[in-house]
């Protein structure tokens, strides 16, 4: 949908701002369903339920982006990566930092309103940094998943803990790094810990009380369909975490949530079978958590290719679709009403598949499995993309994704499961003979699966991507630049050196008729706008 063709952007903005101010400063379920109609706010992980990370704001556009300036910087004051996707609601910005820090800032100045930091046990087991990807907001509360596997509700005005629910035992490797998703009155989130042999799950909690309303185990138990895709007792420690934020389709009341790798990640022996529902896109009934359909991207994965990428809802040629650029190197377009695959196209260097099954799904070739000695497979373990949020721009009708070309030597070795211990089944290494790692921003046409434009970074980046109605695509790089691209050509129009690598996605909002774009880099949040 092109908002600009319906009514002028700014009239929508002002109307919505007026309504929001009059109604209340609180986020409601209705506001979230209609989030695209109030582009001055950024109220949920991807901006709205579609997963598109598209902002309807066009004050900053291809004509004036070159003039952008920094507006404020907020220092989190800790080391390690900041992966947060901030929220902004009616002048207050909510974001997270390392070690389960959460904070609220004045979105005009970057000055803190409150700060919260969880007192974490010394023996937590974060897989890949003490990171967090953001909070969710509903009513008078913001919700934070913690590294010791609790979901906590904080008072949106003070940061005080309103309730604290234990989801799982952190000592066996369960943790939360994901930004929760609000669906109606539920707080939905998925567990991390595929590297520790957890049994993955997606949970929904009552936003008022913290009571768990449903849980979907991403590995079926005995007697459930799909249980026979696991050998012996391997299902108990089979991983399939769910550590990136899904999306919600109000039209069908379905939650789309992606899942991660089976455990141990680099060893398939001992868990013969497809290993459902690892590396899947799941469609769950929002009220009950019951499985409606699933699509598995990589069956019986031995490469750590989590399918934990944001699923993006696209409506095209009269069809209701969901698109996912997967870590395994293929871009998938799926019918979101039934989970049927429409197309799968490579969007980066891959050597593991040269054929498709009758459904059109890429299948593994005979050289795809790791060996004891190790051999080179592409993409590498970090994948063609990873958790970095993509964007779909309804104006250019392009899907933009951070991608890399990288191959690794994958090796495997037997490893017994021990609770709370890393459970990889060996590991991967960069190949001596391999070419240098290449990093890109790519524009994929979902209709054809073709790459229409690309920009090559100096090195691979972990930045997410934002598109805006101003004809712009924003992303960051590992060298610390924040870059505004022309969405049509992917030519950089502006950049700013922030002094730290980017591991987070940008967001956009507007206050006092001024558009802001915010992104985390290094250990700080940066806000940009026009002079």
């Amino acid at each position: 949908m092109n908002l600009r063709r319906v009514v002028p952007q700014w009239s929508i903005m002002f109307l919505a701002a007026l309504l929001a101010t009059q109604a209340s400063a609180q986020v409601t379920s209705d506001r979230l369903v209609n989030a695209a109609k109030e582009p001055q706010n950024w109220m949920t992980y991807s901006g709205d339920y579609s997963g598109r990370r598209f902002s309807g704001l066009d004050q900053i556009n291809t004509d004036n982006a070159h003039a952008m300036v920094p507006k404020w910087v907020y220092q989190v004051g800790a080391t390690g990566k900041v992966e947060t996707s901030p929220l902004e609601v009616d002048g207050v910005l909510y974001a997270t930092g390392q070690d389960d820090r959460a904070f609220a800032l004045d979105a005009r100045t970057g000055r803190p309103l409150w700060m919260y930091q969880r007192q974490l046990p010394a023996d937590i087991r974060p897989c890949c940094g003490r990171v967090n990807r953001g909070v969710a907001i509903l009513g008078d509360k913001v919700f934070l998943g913690t590294l010791d596997a609790h979901l906590i509700a904080l008072d949106a005005k003070t940061g005080a803990v309103r309730w604290d629910s234990t989801a799982a035992d952190y000592r066996t490797g369960n943790s939360f790094t994901v930004a929760p998703l609000i669906v109606k009155n539920l707080v939905v989130l998925g567990v991390s810990g595929g590297e520790y042999g957890v049994r993955g799950f997606i949970d929904a909690y009552d936003a008022d009380t913290g009571e768990r309303k449903w849980r979907f185990y991403t590995i079926p138990g005995p007697g459930e369909p799909g249980h026979d895709t696991w050998e012996g007792d391997s299902w108990k420690v089979g991983g399939a975490p769910a550590w990136n934020t899904g999306t919600y389709d109000p039209a069908t009341n379905q939650i789309f949530w992606p899942t991660g790798n089976p455990a141990p990640s680099n060893r398939g022996e001992g868990r013969a079978g497809d290993n459902l529902y690892s590396n899947c896109l799941l469609a769950l009934d929002a009220d009950t958590g019951r499985l409606k359909w699933y699509f598995q991207f990589t069956k019986h994965d031995e490469h750590d290719w989590d399918a934990t990428q944001v699923p993006v809802m696209i409506d095209a040629v009269g069809r209701r679709l969901v698109a996912q650029a997967d870590r395994n190197g293929f871009f998938y377009v799926i019918d979101r009403t039934n989970g049927k695959l429409i197309s799968a196209s490579p969007y980066g260097k891959q050597t593991w598949s040269d054929a498709k099954d009758s459904d059109g799904r890429p299948t593994a070739n005979k050289n795809a499995s790791p060996t004891l000695k190790g051999h080179t497979i592409c993409p590498g373990a970090l994948g063609t993309t990873n958790f970095m949020a993509p964007t779909y721009d309804p104006q250019t009708k392009m899907f933009y994704v951070t991608a890399r070309d990288q191959c690794d030597i994958f090796s495997t070795a037997p490893q017994p499961y021990e609770p709370g211990h890393a459970f990889y089944g060996s590991a991967y290494f960069p190949s001596d003979e391999a070419e240098p790692y290449l990093g890109f921003l790519k524009a994929i046409d979902p209709a054809s699966g073709e790459i229409k434009q690309k920009f090559q970074h100096t090195s691979p980046t972990w930045s997410g991507v934002l598109s805006t109605a101003g004809g712009l695509v924003f992303s960051g790089d590992a060298e610390g630049n924040f870059i505004a691209f022309d969405a049509a050509s992917l030519k950089p129009l502006w950049h700013f050196q922030m002094g730290g690598a980017v591991y987070a996605p940008p967001v956009a909002f507007a206050l006092d008729e001024k558009q802001y774009v915010v992104i985390a880099a290094g250990s700080a949040l940066y806000a940009f706008g026009l002079p």
Binding site: T79, G80, K81, D123, I124, R125, P126, C127, C128, G129, R130, E195, Y196, G374, S411, A413, Q415, G420, H421, A422, Y424, S426, A427, Y428, F429, P430, D432, P436, Y437, H457, T458, S459, P460, W462, D477, A478, E479, G480, N481, I483, P492, H495, Q497, G500, A501, G522, S523
Partner: protein
Amino acid sequence: MFRPRGVVTIALVCLAIAAPATGQRNPFAGSVKEAKAGEYEFRINCALCHGLGAKGGGRGPDLTRAQKKHAHNDAEMFQIISTGIPGTAMPANGTNGQGVGMTDEEIWQIITYIHSQEASASSKPLGNAAQGKELFFGDANCSLCHMVNGKGGRLGPDLTGAGAGRTREALIDSVRNPSRRLAWGLNEATKEFPQEYESVTVVTADGKQIKGVTLNEDSFSVQIMDTSEQIHLLEKDKLRSFQKSRESAMPKYGPDLLSDKDLEDIVAFLASVGAK
């Protein structure tokens, strides 16, 4: 300098007694079973940089040498694995984004494993260090680009610690095939990998050609040290041409330029520097 083993042992005992921290003794010292467990942990957490078997990868030093540059006993190894080494690519436990955070027990297993690999390492230098020093600063021209203990050039990596961090085989390979694995240069704490010593040739807007190595680069700018050690800060969009190459700026020293014996002497010199 090579020290007799007994002296090292006494020194380690003294350090162990002197170490004030409690719980800093390796509970698994000498255990074959724990060393095996440590091998898995090593593969997961360390091998990406330090290579399979701890013999050194492209970016991490060889850990099979008994004398290490930064750690002189198990307590110091534990400390380094836990908190990293400031100013280097060695990250603190659980922060590198690649491996998983390790428990204390797992760190001790890794230390036990590293010690088990030391026993099997056999890369004692064969050459004459004094002779090698003469060559390094003289006829072999190494010091035109490389520094050792503050003396020498700046174009290539400082080799003061190279002897401690690399096997004899790796050093020989770096001289014979300098382009096979480019050395790592500038390290930025939050970046995934350090900058490599890539060669670069640019032509400026006024037609001037500059050849050198990249000190740092992003999508919009590049900092180059040219062959006479001048540093140039350049904006890419103002250049007439910009060409990077993965051919090392270091000439390939074949046996015609440097005999096997001379090379062994230089390696022995570097090893003697690193052993300090």
